[in-house]
């Protein structure tokens, strides 16, 4: 046991008789027993009476938001990634209520830290309101008739979540061995210290004994878990590969004859390859010396409903990548028709390529009906459509499309010959 001080000589900032002072003193004693250096300890405090203790500690101290101390400490523990450091959280029952997900998540992931819950069964700093930990029958200034519900059993919750060490103690006398056990456990540990607030708990429940309250609530005072947990390891990748590399390069080798920008809207159904087809079209455009953009539109559902993609092909740099009235509108399905109906109606020129199974919408564009869906099936209809319009509109050499297609794994499932049947 070392004799290093973890607390300053100044008086602890708590009401007379408050158990919070004992938590601080028992914490110091536990750390002395473990022979830890004060600056190998990071104390993270929550909001509440207990949280103003940080100025009394000689460790590193971090004081954050109400209920968030366990998440903040988890970030510190993960960032340190050093089992030689002790990350300790002080929180009240109120903070534990707000931050319940952080506690469950911390135990589940096994962050290397210890949470000390100062459970005095009410909110002490704000006037004695009940918390979710307030046991049945316990009275507070704002609930003089007593709570009608059971309080959380945080220890059982932590065991279920996978904490490595969990214990409940009565916050009277020397319980430093319990804290030392928790501090020295690897992974996530929690000690619940039962207290009664001298300002509100005692006055609202005259003559009450802490041990009796705990017993009446059915809360066992014991070690709930010891050593079965796991310890979080920070994921660390050394020398990750640049996202901008020659692997992405497309070297133009074909020539396009288009003299001005061409805007193409492909409108079909999710799951029918609209976005992939548009990407092939755009990449083949680059291969043919053009500037290209591709903008996708779809509902929030991934595999159902419409899927549309705007592609611009231009011999000049493209400033605006948004949709205007397309020069070419391609509709391959009923979903696509519903999505693009208004666009078709606004077209006063250009071309509408539409699957021949669909009704032709109102439009000023020249209409060309093509059996996109029948030719190679619904799932390949958009891909066939882009081959079709590249060929018929002479946007660039069809060899550019072939090259992009053959470099993709889809070429193992769909034959290039079938896409070239116009």
């Amino acid at each position: 046991m070392n004799s290093k001080n973890f607390l300053t000589d100044s008086q602890l900032p708590f009401c007379k008789g408050c158990g919070h002072a004992l938590v601080a003193k028992n914490t110091e004693k536990a750390l002395q027993k473990l022979n830890v250096d004060p600056l190998d300890v990071v104390l993270v405090t929550d909001i509440g009476c207990h949280g103003i203790v940080d100025k009394s500690f000689l460790t590193h101290t971090v004081h954050g938001l109400h209920g968030r101390s366990s998440a903040l400490a988890a970030g510190i523990a993960a960032g340190l990634n050093n089992p030689g450091k002790k990350v300790i959280v002080f929180t009240g029952d109120g903070g534990a209520t707000i931050g319940m997900q952080h506690l469950i998540g911390g135990a589940h992931l096994g962050f290397d830290m210890t949470v000390v819950v100062h459970n005095n069964m009410l909110y002490g700093m704000t006037g004695g309101q009940p918390s979710e930990f307030t046991p049945c029958g316990f009275k507070t200034p704002t609930l003089p008739e007593g709570s009608s519900k059971e309080g959380y059993d945080i220890c059982e919750l932590m065991v279920a979540a996978g904490a490595s060490y969990v214990e409940r103690v009565i916050g009277i006398g020397d319980y430093s061995d319990s804290l030392a056990k928790a501090f020295s456990s690897s992974g996530f540990s929690l000690v619940e210290v039962m207290e009664i607030c001298p300002s509100y708990g005692v006055k609202s429940n005259p003559g009450i004994k802490l041990s009796q309250v705990v017993e009446n609530a059915g809360w066992n005072v014991k070690v709930f878990a010891d050593g079965k947990g796991h310890s979080f390891k920070k994921p660390l990748k050394e020398n990750t590969e640049s996202l901008i590399s020659e692997k992405l390069e497309i070297k133009p080798k074909y020539q396009s004859e288009i003299k001005k920008p061409v805007s193409i809207l492909i409108s079909g159904s999710a799951g029918e390859g609209v976005q992939s087809a548009a990407e092939f079209l755009a990449k083949a455009g680059i291969l043919s010396g053009l500037n290209t953009t591709k903008k996708g539109s779809y509902p929030v559902t991934v595999g159902v409903g419409f899927s549309a993609s705007d592609v611009i092909l231009s011999p000049k740099p493209i400033l605006f990548t948004g949709s205007t009235n397309p020069d070419i509108l391609v509709i391959t399905s009923a979903d696509g028709l519903n999505f693009a109906r208004n666009t078709a109606a606004k077209m006063t020129s250009g071309k509408l390529y539409i699957d021949d199974s669909l009704d032709v919408p109102e439009t000023g564009a020249q209409v060309i009906r093509v059996p996109f869906r029948e030719k190679l099936g619904a799932r390949t209809s958009s891909l066939y459509a882009v081959f079709y319009i590249v060929h018929h509109e002479k946007l660039f050499p069809i060899d550019a499309m072939k090259e992009v297609f053959l470099s993709n794994k889809i070429s193992k499932k769909v034959s290039i010959e079938s896409l070239l049947q116009f």
């Binding site: 250096d37 940080d54 960032g79 340190l80 050394e238 996202l243 020659e246 133009p252 500037n291 929030v300």
Partner: protein, 374 residues
Amino acid sequence: MHDNKKNLAFIDGSRLITEALVRAGADTFVGYPITPANLLYLYATKRFPTMLAAPDEITTLQWMSGFAISGHVPVTATSFPGYALMVESIGMAAMMELPMVIILVQRLGPATGTATRGAQGDLNVVFGTMSGGYSLPTFSISNYHDCWEVSAKAVHTAIELRTPVVLLTSKEMVMTQQSFDWSDLPEIAPKKVKQFEGEGQYFPYKADESLVSDFLPVSQNKHQVRITASTHDTRGILQNSTPEAINNTKRLEEKVNKHLDSYTLYDFDEQEGAETLVVSWDISSLASREAVVELRNKGKMVSLLIAKTLLPIPKVYIDIIQRYKKVVVVEENLKGQFRQLLFGAAGREGVTGVNGIAKMINPSEIVEEVMRYE
């Protein structure tokens, strides 16, 4: 047509942003998935040395703060619903003076709105993030080059000023793919947080004339570190309202304003003799640039200001807009959020906006507004 010597690729803005963040010195990505920030999350899993999947956005900001306290430079990417949850924690990180970057990918609101439609509706939210109206350095991206340079500047600013920084972008900037030549992208030098190297007592919040205090992570055990989100003195000790503590709080605002010139980024394309100025930011800059080309081709004299540093508002923007009789502010929201920040509720004669929601503003709308009084 393209020159064969260039490094051409077909890429999206998210790829450039992620690469730039890492090269600039960010080493940790903490994320909770939300559309349309998904690609940033995806690329982060491949590129960041450390990437953690958080269970929600409050946890995200708290973990990030913990990483920053440990000496890391964290980043996240979210959209309005996530940012709303992060607000209290961003204020905490600003008060603690922790470097981090929050990328806010704007989408159509209010509330959950439409996740797969872009927007520019969150500037007011960012402006009002912190109680007391304290400023968060806030950038926006106007094109693919900005994905690279402005993202790097966001990281550097966070590190240099020890503050959270917001990088505003939008769905179409981070998800649209386009042909892009990366051969002329400048090198990005990594930056590190300046650390205290003295021998005496360390004061976590004591600053010199730069107003930026030296940092020490809690990973070292030479000096005690105290970090707090509550009003505090230079030692990091909670105070009610002592003059020292209040001065420290004022310093947070003074700090980001003192260095504003060093992170003011904008494009000003001035046409001599023009009496009309088009002002834009983020995704509407694309249409604004095209509209200005079209207007000049029609013989209309017009200048263009693209704001990349949005908050605090740089004085140079005020100097520029005061020189023009007619100012047209282009942004994809209903009320003209940037216009109101520049001109207030009273506005000014000759100031109008081109606004809209649920679709990208078209260059022709801007041309029409500029020509309206001709």
